[in-house]
């Protein structure tokens, strides 16, 4: 009885551990985009960061070249770095490589999609779209969920 109980617990643990990292919100060719989100913004705030995971299921590397959105005037791919406790942020030059069979996480503390000159504040619950331009997979439209700040 005890053994069965432990087995059940172990199975639950394994299933949880193996659960997919997130929900695929867009896919095209060998590229899948998972869990795309952005923080809502205050009136007068002109920028927002969007985060997501990009998965390349193919056998050749691809590259995120640029991004655009009808929610903002400009969209750039940025990288944030910490140097001696100081935050530094800059546009990624030459795009971002997504290696074959690998996932690239755009998350706080690393890469993000930067929406500049928002047309209007982002409200919680809203879904905006960002178009990502890949070297191989081409242009793909990604729905981005706006969540609380």
């Amino acid at each position: 009885m005890k053994k069965i109980f432990i087995l059940v617990l172990f199975s639950i643990f394994m299933f949880t551990a193996c659960a997919p990292a997130g929900e695929v919100v867009a896919s095209q060719g060998s590229i899948e985009v998972l869990d795309a989100w952005a923080r809502s913004t205050a009136d007068g705030q002109s920028v927002a960061g969007a985060f997501m995971t990009i998965r390349n299921t193919g056998e050749a590397a691809d590259r995120l070249l640029s991004a655009s959105s009808d929610a903002a005037g400009f969209v750039e791919v940025h990288e944030m770095k910490m140097e001696a406790g100081v935050m530094n942020m800059a546009e990624v030059a030459g795009g971002l490589e997504v290696p074959a069979g690998a996932s690239l996480a755009l998350k706080p503390g690393g890469y993000h999609i930067m929406l500049i000159d928002l047309n209007q504040p982002l409200a919680q619950g809203q879904v905006i779209t960002i178009t990502l331009e890949f070297e191989q997979a081409g242009a793909m439209v990604v729905p981005v969920q706006v969540v609380n700040p």
């Binding site: 923080r39 809502s40 205050a42 009136d43 007068g44 705030q45 002109s46 920028v47 927002a48 960061g49 005037g73 400009f74 750039e76 940025h78 944030m80 910490m82 406790g85 100081v86 935050m87 530094n88 942020m89 800059a90 546009e91 706080p108 503390g109 993000h112 930067m114 929406l115 500049i116 000159d117 700040p149």
Partner: protein
Amino acid sequence: MNKQGIIFFSAVALFIATLAVYQTMLPPVMKGSAIDPPAPMPDFTLHSADGSVTLSQFAGKYVVLYFGFTNCPDICPTTLAHLRDALSRLGAGADQFQVIFISVDPARDTPELTSAYAGRFNPAFLGLSGAKEEIDAVTKGYGIFVQLNEPDAESGYYSVDHTATTLVLNREGALALTWPYGLSADDILEDMKVLVRK
């Protein structure tokens, strides 16, 4: 049990009890970097949407200071969200902390915008800005590095490099603890629990 046995076990019990007492007397290990003795910091007055705010008016509370800018997409909202989450889990002791977000980008961040930005994380968070000279005096006094980058040729957007460490001032306004960027809400909560007992 014979007499020797009783003495032996009593000695072991006493040893364990002594260790336990000693443990409780050790200063608790903080997740952030403790500053001991705490360093007195300069007072300042800056501006919120509702008017002037002076640091010393929060004497008796812990003041959690974070410097950033509202057009910061990543590190500033992440830090403020961690502080909010830690305080909401702390529960009853949360009123012993005043979180203050200070803009290092006064050219874009008016007091109104800075207050609105901070208040969206938690209505009790204060967002302060001011004239450039006022902000410069505070960042200098608190050892906060700030550097404005060149505006982007297309969009005109510029980022601001800044120290991303959160400062915790004790009830007397002296710097007692710093939290580096990247500490989780759980780690911050652990430190807050230690602070409220002091």
